[in-house]
């Protein structure tokens, strides 16, 4: 065998073909799998809807504060309904910023101890989110991480929603 191998090991390794066509067409199986188990699509339309919802919620909350009335059931429902994970989408970010602004306004009305607990919870959620983001960067195919990624976004929005709703009586009394 040695007579047939005058090349160095590195040269032989370098000479190996990196591309090896699959012996059969794998696309039909892939395509079938993608059609049978479609990914959860969160299109731009949803982010746009979120932006509208966020603006509506912000307006409703402002109106409620100024007029001393509770926000409408529809607005409350809308605040809870959207869940999305497109943090880089500018429309989503705008909607989220609106919600966070309302959350901050309501949070300021709470006593310091309660406020500190909520801030601590929010910090935990955001740390978890950042950890998961880093993990996803190295393991983007992990369905568990993807689920956790979704979950932390929902947790943050749920926290905003809970605070806003929990402080509603306080707001309407003032």
């Amino acid at each position: 065998m040695k007579d047939h191998l005058p090349q160095s090991l590195d040269e032989q390794l370098a000479s190996l073909a990196r591309d090896i066509p699959p012996p059969r067409n794998l696309w039909p199986g892939i395509s079938r799998s993608l059609r049978e188990h479609p990914r959860r699509v969160r299109p731009l339309a949803l982010a746009a809807a979120a932006g509208i919802v966020g603006a509506c919620v912000a307006s409703a909350l402002t109106w409620a504060v100024l007029h001393g009335r509770p926000e409408s059931p529809a607005a409350q429902s809308a605040a809870r309904a959207p869940t999305f994970d497109e943090p880089r989408n500018p429309r989503y970010m705008a909607a989220r910023d609106d919600l966070e602004l309302n959350f901050r306004e309501r949070l300021a009305l709470l006593d310091p101890a309660t406020r500190a607990r909520i801030e601590a919870s929010l910090a935990v959620i955001r740390r978890a989110h950042e950890d998961i983001r880093k993990a996803l960067a190295s393991d983007p195919a992990s369905p568990v991480l993807e689920q956790l990624w979704d979950s932390t976004w929902h947790d943050e929005l749920d926290l905003y929603d809970h605070v806003v709703r929990a402080t509603q009586p306080t707001m309407t009394r003032t």
């Binding site: 065998m1 090991l9 032989q12 993608l34």
Partner: protein, 183 residues
């Protein structure tokens, strides 16, 4: 890392990736057509088994489709895809407890086309397939597919020093099997 060239330039690749991320299956099929030989080759050499490599290739593209929206184009798509392929192989091995260390002959591996290469490359492929798993994984990633030690270590979940040691071990074993002087 040694990446497959992006299809017809980065602009077209970016368009295909963006379209596929938006749900365009035809665009994703074009990406599959371009990248599947490299992914299959990687899976075949990591697993040492044709059927496992086919399964891993399919699973890699399914995983890529599902994760495509999280691809931020800070790295090459091929780099990202190859990392998914390696993770798919490792996850499959953990889940199914496939024994890859049996040094059985590998089918489906090509001869090197270069007539100037003196050695029969299938011997080399068989020798690689017969390496212990850890050594084979590092040799395939670093020695054949051009991962840096840091990339290979991160992808395989081992320390960089372990990666280097495994490569040294793999090279020594290969040289012994093939009757070569280590270069």
């Amino acid at each position: 890392m040694g990446a497959a060239a992006e299809p017809a330039g980065s602009a077209e690749a970016a368009e295909l990736i963006a379209a596929a991320a938006g749900g365009d299956l035809d665009a994703f099929e074009r990406l599959y057509r371009h990248y599947s030989p490299r992914v299959y080759g990687l899976c075949l050499r990591l697993t040492g088994q044709r059927e496992a490599a086919e399964d891993c290739t399919q699973e890699s593209f399914v995983a890529a489709w599902r994760a495509l929206r999280s691809f931020e184009q800070r790295s090459l798509f091929s780099t990202w895809l190859h990392r998914i392929a390696v993770h798919t192989v490792l996850a499959r091995r953990r889940g199914l407890r496939i024994e890859y260390e049996v040094p059985e002959p590998v089918s489906g591996l090509p001869e090197v086309a270069d007539p100037g290469s003196a050695g029969p490359p299938l011997d080399l492929e068989r020798a690689i397939a017969g390496l212990p798993e850890g050594a084979r994984h590092v040799l395939v990633l670093v020695g054949i597919y051009g991962f840096s030690h840091a990339e290979a270590a991160a992808t395989l979940g081992v320390a960089e020093g372990t990666c280097k040691a495994q490569l040294h071990r793999a090279r020594g074993l290969l040289a012994a099997v093939l009757g070569l002087e280590e270069s």
